[in-house]
Symmetry: C2
Subunit: 341 residues, 2 copies
DNA sequence: TTGTAGGCGTTATCAC
DNA sequence: GTGATAACGCCTACAA
């Protein structure tokens, strides 16, 4: 059996209450003599408070739950790494749940977090193919009544919630405008499911840029699949069939898929086709040619999310419960000016 | 205040004990009438047991701690994803701790896990630059007295521990033999710190292969830095200065660094130099040319680790507390036969 | 300045 | 079959 507060009390010849006061630096004056006795006993017995018991009585677990679609995706890997690191400094543990974008798994984790009485939940990209599922999940969260921060890509919500996101329309706009500036006119989109809010918004940004240039968006130039390399590989032949000179890949993984396909078709980037991605995964710098991409400010997302969850947990009303961050275009070598061959 | 077992008991007109029996399917016979009453009350009140209280009394938290150097590295990202998914099916939560290979952070997490009374700890790559730190950490773990599984890259240990690893010597051996078979004779190594066991073992495998071919390992061909892209970039010019025709990069990240440097020096892979990596990160298939690499069986590592921790937690004595898995050579396009130019 | 005792939400051991 | 009741380990009024 592990050593408890009673053991310490006994060893120091005081009551458990006194030990507790000392451990928690309570504002009660305690004689230096007893304090030292107790500290010594704690040290000798290697006493550590059982956080389960502490949580039960204080009603705070110093734990937060983090839900994300897939920590294997470098974007989310970085995000969770940042969040976790920030929370560690507050001695808050993070329980991670990968949902693979599956509503059932999402629900399972939400339940698990609630049962474990996490102090808060950070939720990345709660958005399912079937909108009903998304709404259902949001209702569950509302009933859970746990401080929640929605991160990156979200639907609306009310109550004890905050939202941190990156302007997704701006992402689509920046990517497209960059290509337009280079002289491209037929620009394909390699997107994930257009039922997902992110993709919708990126596509809207794309259209906005086109319209600013007096062009009419051509629905044939939108290829939808999933945000994976696979999508890129399939998108390339399809979009080339529609005579595009550039492709806006809705994330870097998709762009990599296009790179791969280009090799098979013996197509050169950027001479034959320009590519721009989204996320600025670290490999985008390494791949050949280095990928032009729209970066999302991951550290900022993480720190805002952590700040927001801390405020909500403290029960303070946040100044703004909606934060929108700006994406950034990183021009590399996968895009070049249009040449009419 | 959330609904407790007492509320349910009151609503159903029974005692808390009865409710508890029903919830936990205890082998006590309970009349169908009361059972239904209770189930109905649970349902109506949306009652869920507070796991903190359950844990306190049952002495099991259904939580395990996972410590890894860096979840941003795709290898560890995949590993943790696999582990987490397997444990979810047992309704076990995972607290993740990224240490950045820092002994202090490692200790902090170990303490946190212990305070939270995790049922077990899975520890990836507990190996620090300073061997004393490694030993110190192992001692802490021993004192913690928590079931622990060491995963991938480990030093010895005793007690309530199991080890799952991949034969690191074999990794070095397979990589080097592949290059030797292709006719290469001056093979450089781009390694992380040679004080770390992994790197030592991979280097031993390298030497073993050379010796089998009647060659004498040349210490000048060992470049040590860190297992990152940076290392690769620095290693290339240095090793070229020693006339190598091939490089064994101690992981794929290092190999990517070499790719990057090759572009700057206008060196072609594999025509001018052959490269082999380790880990088979998903990008290794995508990069151009696709990287020949030694794959570690991540799913197997994960499932063995989970099995092992379950056995230890159950208090069973494991059949074998040491499992060694085999790496696999994946030949792609970054290696080709030696041409004396 | 320190100790006593009640309670946090459960489970589990006895009685009835 | 079901219900008190004592733990589990800790915090915190309230007393002393």
């Amino acid at each position: 059996m592990r050593v408890t507060i009673k053991d310490v009390a006994k060893a120091a010849g005081v009551s458990p209450a006194t030990v507790s006061f000392i451990i928690n630096n309570k504002p009660v004056s305690i004689s230096t003599a007893t304090r030292e006795k107790v500290l010594k006993a704690i040290d000798e017995l290697h006493y550590r408070p059982n956080q389960l018991a502490v949580s039960l009585v204080t009603n705070t677990s110093n734990t937060i739950g983090l839900i994300l679609p897939d920590s294997t995706n470098p974007f989310f890997a970085s995000l969770s790494h940042c969040i976790e690191e920030l929370l560690r400094k507050h001695n808050i543990a993070v329980i991670v749940g990968n949902t693979n974008s599956d509503p059932d798994i999402t629900r399972q984790y939400l339940q698990l977090f609630s049962d474990k009485r996490v102090d808060g939940i950070i939720l990345a990209q709660l958005d399912f193919e079937d909108e009903q599922e998304t709404i259902a999940c949001q209702n569950i969260i509302r009933h859970l009544d746990i401080p929640t921060v929605y991160v990156d890509r979200v639907a609306n919500s009310v109550g004890q919630h905050s939202i941190v996101e990156v302007d997704q329309r701006q992402i689509g706009y920046l990517a497209t405008r960059h290509l337009l500036n280079l002289g491209h006119r037929r620009i394909g989109c390699a997107s994930g499911s257009i039922h997902l809010t992110v993709n919708q918004q990126r596509y809207e940004g794309y259209k906005k840029a086109l319209i600013e240039y007096g062009l009419t968006p051509d629905p044939d130039l939108l290829f939808c699949d999933s945000l994976s390399t696979n999508c890129g590989s399939k998108a390339l032949p399809c979009l080339l069939g529609h005579n595009v000179s550039a492709i806006f890949a809705f994330n870097d993984m998709v762009a990599y898929g296009i790179y791969k396909a280009c090799r098979n078709y013996n197509i050169s980037i950027p001479d034959d086709i320009s590519i721009v991605g989204v996320d600025d995964i670290s490999f985008s710098e390494i791949i050949n040619p280095p990928l032009t991409t729209i970066a999302q400010p991951i550290e900022k997302i993480a720190s805002h999310a952590v700040e927001a969850i801390k405020i909500l947990i403290n029960g303070d009303k946040p100044e703004h419960n909606y934060i929108c961050l700006h994406p950034l275009l990183k021009v590399r070598a996968s895009t070049t000016s249009y040449k009419n061959l």
